[in-house]
């Protein structure tokens, strides 16, 4: 396996697999809350954070994390104000993020770096990224396990969850923070414009084949890891943008899942 003789590829595969594990794990809850646009919104805000970092000469991933964390609190606040128009809070923040990013990009002298954050790059993954993503991936997985049934209940019905003693507000904020961190860190390899798709595509495929909440999570992670590994492999040998190859492999998984469901319901329906 020539591909693993390059240390940058080994780092890319490790970071890619961690993001590929965490993104759909959170994505299941996000999609079933019908808030799949949150991923895209935070990704745009995170890109504005990257542009801000590059403009100020700071670490762009750190500024992306800070800016997107700030945005999650504003989204959560707006979501409460516009209770019956949850998606409105997202379009407000998405527009603000995109506006800020455009202005900052026009102020930057060179655009190559911001482009690599938009579309992802295998060579950009550093050892430092590895040391950030690995513990965060573990922490986020443990947090999901700790609050597993709380997150399920909030996803199903927030009002009933509160009556069952679930700390709804606290878990909603925690969840948004986890989404912001996943998007900001996943941007390095998948790209800011595509990371949100890794949150939603595998879940869309899993929903076609799963028969319970737990199996939806398991299938989502399996589809996502398949997309990440096949996508990175193709990206390396064909010299293509990794984000694009990963996401297109994810689309392939979704098409296969749709076909499977179609054939199953047509020919094997009970």
């Amino acid at each position: 396996m020539e591909i693993f003789t390059y240390s940058f590829m080994v780092r890319a595969f490790i970071v890619g697999n961690i993001i590929g594990f965490v993104a759909p794990l959170l994505g299941v809850f996000l999609i079933l809350k019908r808030l799949s646009l949150i991923g895209h919104t935070i990704a745009h805000v995170a890109l504005a954070g990257v542009a801000l970092g590059l403009f100020l000469g700071l670490n762009p991933v750190m500024t992306a994390v800070v800016v997107s964390l700030g945005a999650t609190f504003v989204i959560e606040n707006l979501r409460e104000r516009y209770e019956n128009y949850a998606e409105l809070s997202l379009s407000i923040i998405l527009a603000s993020g995109l506006g800020l990013m455009t202005v900052l990009v026009s102020l930057l002298r060179e655009n190559a770096r911001i482009l690599s954050y938009m579309f992802g790059s295998i060579t950009m993954v550093t050892r430092g990224d590895l040391y950030t993503v690995l513990p965060l991936g573990i922490v986020m997985t443990v947090l999901i396990i700790i609050f597993y049934y709380g997150f399920i209940y909030i996803t199903f019905n927030e009002h009933q969850a509160r009556l069952a003693g679930v700390p709804v507000r606290y878990l909603n904020i925690l969840f948004m923070v986890m989404i912001a961190l996943t998007v900001s860190l996943g941007m390095r390899i998948i790209g800011g414009l595509l990371i949100a798709s890794l949150i939603s595509l595998p879940v869309a495929a899993a929903l076609q084949v799963a028969h319970s909440f737990r199996s939806t999570i398991i299938y989502s992670i399996l589809f996502s890891l398949l997309a990440v590994n096949v996508g990175l492999y193709i990206s390396f040998y064909r010299d293509l943008a990794p984000g694009g190859t990963v996401i297109l492999t994810g689309v392939g998984c979704l098409i296969l899942a749709l076909l499977y469901n179609n054939i199953k319901s047509r020919y094997f329906a009970i």
Binding site: L32, R34, I145, I146, F147, Y148, Y149, G150, I152, Y153, F156, N157, H159, Q160, A161, R162, L163, A164, G165, V166, L207, A210, H211, S212, F213, R214, S215, T216
Partner: protein, 253 residues
């Protein structure tokens, strides 16, 4: 004995409209109260106030001995809303997962189902006669079956009080009968206090101990035995007989 709920001078306004005007009443242990009245008369509003989804503009409520604003033992109360009509039918959770979620406050540090929780789920599924549906997705069940699962979800926490908001909207006749036998069992055998919003005279006459009529922002409380059902049998829609608008005499509160 201290009432389960004490409502004192409660008012609630929505967009300058007085939905509830200075309402006062007690609900006693083991009672079966029927809330009746036309749409928009405040039945659901009062129920939502009782479960903390809405806050009254004035007045005080004591819930199970604690002022409502300080009340946090929500698992002692079961609330079955019109969720059966509203929830996403393609939500992938199984019956076991939906009921298990209601055990949240009783799970350990890791909020995963332990052996005791699984036993509890089996117990309540047995109680509502739905044990064989444990691994089925909730969305694949009929309206009546879903409603029984929501009852089971409530029962898993051994509530002292169950509030039901028109629980049988969209549920067929045979399933309604099974549902009422179940509610009757919970009320008479287990002593659970029940408050139910319903328009169905058949249910109210056979189950309720008191009937609370909502009209013009006020409530009028009738002892179920004295409630003049015959005069209210005039409105018939399908198989259900509904209580029409009616006047209240000085004897009513």
């Amino acid at each position: 004995m201290e009432p389960v709920i004490n409502i004192k001078n409660v008012s609630f306004n929505y967009k300058r409209k007085n939905i509830l005007k200075n309402i006062s009443m007690d609900v006693n242990q083991g009672e079966f109260l029927a809330f009746v009245g036309p749409n928009g008369s405040g039945k659901t509003t009062l129920m939502k106030i009782l479960v903390g989804e809405l806050t009254p503009d004035s007045g005080t409520i004591t819930m199970l001995g604690t002022p409502l604003e300080d009340f946090n033992s929500w698992t002692r109360i079961g609330y079955i809303s019109q969720e059966v009509k509203a929830f996403n039918p393609s939500f992938p959770a199984t019956v076991k997962e939906i009921i298990g979620a209601n055990l949240y406050s009783r799970l350990g540090f890791f909020k995963l189902l332990n052996r005791e929780a699984k036993k509890e789920i089996d117990r309540v599924l047995d109680l509502v006669d739905m044990k064989e549906f444990k691994y089925r997705q909730l969305g694949s069940l009929s309206g009546g079956q879903k409603q029984r699962i929501f009852i089971a979800r409530t029962l898993v926490n051994d509530p002292e009080l169950i509030l039901l908001d028109e629980p049988l909207v969209g549920v067929d006749g045979a399933a309604q009968d099974r549902f009422f036998r179940l509610i009757n069992k919970l009320n008479r055998q287990l002593g659970i206090t029940v408050i139910m919003i319903s328009h169905d005279i058949h249910v109210i006459s056979s189950e309720a101990t008191r009937v609370v009529c909502f009209s013009g922002g006020h409530i009028f409380i009738h002892e179920a035995d004295n409630f003049d059902y015959d005069n209210y049998h005039c409105d018939t829609v399908g198989e259900n007989r509904f209580i029409p608008d009616h006047e209240h005499g000085a004897g009513d509160r």
